[in-house]
Amino acid sequence: MKEPVNTPSLTDRVLGWGTFLAVTVALYLVFMWVPNEKIQGPVSKIIYFHIASAWLAFFAFFVVMVCSIIYLKTKDLKWDIISYASAEIGVLFTTIVLVTGPIWGRASWNAWWTWDHRLTTTLILWFIYIAYLMIRSSFNEEEKKARFSAVFGIIGFIDVPIVWMSIRWWRTIHPNIVSSGGFAMDPSMVQTLLVSLGAFTLLYFYLLRKGILIQKMRSEFELLKQELGTGR
């Protein structure tokens, strides 16, 4: 018996290279092609990947909710695996948003953190899905882990618009010292942004497939361990 070498399926390979290509194109557009924003200068280039990350994170959490609902309806662990993989990616990209946001803010407003409503909502979003991951790690039995995290995945997502609403209202009555600022969008900027969004969407699906694959392997591993345990 030879140790199996990892041979990704055709879809995976196409997706992998497609993602690589798309991200490269996006990078080229961001750094070489698109003009600097007039007021903010080169720092404005952060915004493309910042927004793309935010989009990706939000999309990932949306997937978590949808798969959670399907899991509760079908009780098929397949959907739980997708939720988990997606939540992890979502948290990663929320982290990116939370790090790049302040850097951009520091450069353009000279303040690391502002309690701007977008940034604050993102922070809360991050905490909600950290909580989701913590729920997952506090249950041993597969079924409970899947069921309770699915319930929380739904609640968390329902909560997001209310959080957004309340924080926006909070900011409007306590006006920021630094206004969130106008950003005059040139057509070339819009195009760059769209390509970045596309590239990150591909990246999401690439990571998701990888995450699912790993979870499936883990399931197989647990199954084998059980077989050993039953004393064959």
Partner: protein
């Protein structure tokens, strides 16, 4: 009608057990008062700053005491597996949820009724009489929203290995709108601001409460399913 009978039975059962031992209420009250004392030491009660941070302090105190109570509410059902006894009862699952929610709401309200006057006295803070009805409304909505989500998540976390630690971590991010809304509305009311300024906060609190009183109708059975 049947629903109300079931909810009442659960609430009376919880309250009867609680008033016999007073375990939960006494620890919630002592904790709340201790929080006030800590605030007194942390912020000089004679300074003018107090006027600005007072609403925040009050709600921090309420919410911490509430978490203490919520943590126990389903863990106590685990002794003798009483939770299975509840699941067996021929009532809609939401009856169990609303029964537990009402009991928790009553505990937190008792703590609030005791601590709010204490806050006012110890910080020498005059609460204008005409602000009281609005204040009661806001405290009611805020407490309802927090305990609604809290009861639901307490039921969820009571199954976990370390439920006492898990509950606050999963509860606080979800209840951000409640905390924000309650503190801001309280501040606006106490500072005698125009009605329009706190009404929108009341709306947000109301929306939150409505959403999280409806969600359990659908989702609570998944939390209880053994």
């Amino acid at each position: 009608m049947h629903m109300l009978t079931g909810i009442r039975a659960i609430v009376q059962k919880d309250l009867a057990a609680e008033f016999r031992t007073r375990e939960l209420l006494s620890s919630m009250l002592v904790f709340a008062v201790l929080t006030i004392i800590v605030f007194v030491f942390a912020f000089d009660p004679t300074k003018a700053v107090i006027r600005q941070v007072f609403p925040g302090m009050v709600w921090v105190c309420f919410i911490f005491a509430a978490v203490l109570g919520l943590n126990r509410s389903f863990v106590s059902e685990k002794t003798n597996d009483c939770i299975t006894g509840l699941i067996l009862c021929p009532v809609d699952r939401s009856v169990i949820y609303f029964g537990k929610l009402t009991a928790n709401f009553i505990y937190v309200t008792i703590v609030e009724i005791v601590t709010l006057p204490l806050f006012a006295v110890l910080f020498n803070y005059k609460i204008p009489l005409q602000a009281v009805p609005a204040l009661v409304l806001v405290i009611f909505l805020g407490t309802l929203g927090f305990t609604a989500v809290g009861t639901f998540l307490a039921a969820l976390s009571s199954n976990a290995r370390s439920s006492e630690v898990l509950l606050p971590v999963i509860l606080f991010p979800v209840t951000v709108p409640v905390v924000l809304g309650a503190v801001q509305a309280t501040a606006a009311i106490l500072s005698g601001a125009l009605t329009a300024e706190w009404v929108s906060w009341v709306k947000i609190l109301g929306a939150f409460d409505a959403v999280f009183l409806v969600v359990p109708f659908v989702l609570f059975e998944y939390v209880l399913d053994m």
